[in-house]
Symmetry: C2
Subunit: 271 residues, 2 copies
């Protein structure tokens, strides 16, 4: 999917919501846990219920890998079920030396035809560039994550610049790609950090986790993060997936997603 196609989707739906399919088999409704392929049925119901309110789905690979071979099949079947209108993200956080990253890129761009993959930056340029060589795909590099551990290394101040490591990651990595094939993960827990981040990368799309279950505010994220192309994909996972633990889980998920969309509609009008 091109940047223009993504922007068009956002404008026509008035939504920049990404639904995170972090489908923990132990958390889906009990009546589905008892069925074969309960996770796949759950995912399909969530997609049917939320597709009108979101523009993207993010599949967290860990929750599928941990189910063994059948988990990988379900990941592929879930991906195939997502409408072609929606931007698909493999939240895989891969990254290795060049010839190995090339294999991961093949996995998540060819074998499983996602639009995008999340990538860890610690190993530097040659670990990220094999993903960027797919110019019709998207590489989403971790900048500032939303978890407490982001303080351990990402927020350490570098001696040469006096700035935190994650800002150097944003600056450096942004020179390896362009706003048409590169995005960044920027956590929502401190939305005020988005101001300086926007001055470093005004044009790039930001994938923002941490709204909802992790405590980030959609209002603040939107105030600091939106640009003229929207430039945001705000992800919610648990808040939508597990809004209700019973038979009405899909309706409850739809209601939460619709609420996010309504709020986003307001913020998009204000830009």
């Amino acid at each position: 999917m091109t940047r223009q196609q993504l922007v068009d989707q956002i404008q026509s739906k008035k939504s920049y919501l990404c639904v995170g399919l972090d489908t923990d088999p132990a958390k889906i409704p009990v009546h589905l846990q008892q069925l074969p392929d309960g996770v796949l049925r759950f995912n399909k119901a969530i997609i049917d219920a939320t597709r009108d309110y979101c523009v993207s789905y993010k599949i967290n690979t860990a929750f599928y890998e941990s189910q063994g071979l059948r988990g990988w099949e379900i990941m592929a079947e879930t991906l195939a079920y997502i409408p072609a209108t929606h931007f698909t993200i493999a939240d895989a956080k891969r990254g290795d030396i060049g010839n190995t990253s090339a294999q991961y890129a093949k996995t998540f761009f060819e074998v499983l035809p996602f639009d995008a993959i999340t990538v860890a930056p610690y190993m530097g340029a040659d670990s990220v560039k094999p993903f960027l060589e797919y110019t019709d795909k998207w590489t989403i590099v971790l900048g500032l994550t939303s978890n407490p551990g982001s303080a351990d290394f990402q927020q350490k101040i570098l001696g040469d610049s006096g700035k935190p490591l994650y800002e150097t990651v944003l600056e450096t990595v942004s020179s390896w790609g362009n706003p048409g094939n590169l995005m960044f993960v920027v956590g929502a827990t401190k939305a005020s950090d988005l101001g300086p981040i926007r001055s470093i990368i005004p044009d790039h799309f930001l994938l923002v986790p941490g709204v909802g279950a992790q405590g980030g505010s959609l209002k603040d994220v939107s105030a600091y993060g939106l640009n003229t192309d929207a430039g945001l994909l705000v992800n919610a996972s648990r808040a939508i997936l597990f809004a209700d633990s019973g038979e009405g889980f899909a309706e409850a998920a739809a209601a939460v997603a619709r609420t996010y969309r309504e709020e986003m509609q307001l913020y998009l009008t204000e830009v």
Copy 2:
């Protein structure tokens, strides 16, 4: 496998060689490429040929994921074929927020019963600790990697300590585990860096890639890195796997592995 069991293996074999099963299907001998399960046959032949000379096998997950479902099956079948005497490493470089890392730990410690997994540190404590909670397993955290991109972030100097980021990673992460369940990846391309590293983490095992195809010297790595328990696993992948591209690939692999072992025997005697 416990630390003592690993040390015993190293002492009895006089080897700290890890063979990296980075099995690129496009690089195995042509006669195997034409067979069903050529990669599995190749891996089994490599294991048979090298098991007497090494103490560990490292499976690079990228090369299996990129082959789709059959790749995951072959990874599991290869793991099952490795003798129980050998220390098995999933070179997966995973890492995510806590509940997600827990799923990765389940994948590579339970679903696929590896002894160890490699983990990326960028997301900090809560991304690493779910692996360390398996006290009978091993977490191998990236410190200084052997690729050119290690200069981009790992070697940046931090303002508060005046030391490179990777040293802070070693110091900080070492407080989260102990030398009985935590190792570090430390690249071999600048063996002199191992001196300061050993002063930070004198007791931990180091998994050292980059010897052979990537240009690191086994002699230098051993001089700077060995401790009284050996404390090193030196990995070679391509130099062993693809020592010969024809029918004699396994014998050629054995010869290279034996040469490493002979050299290691010398260095172990000198400690």
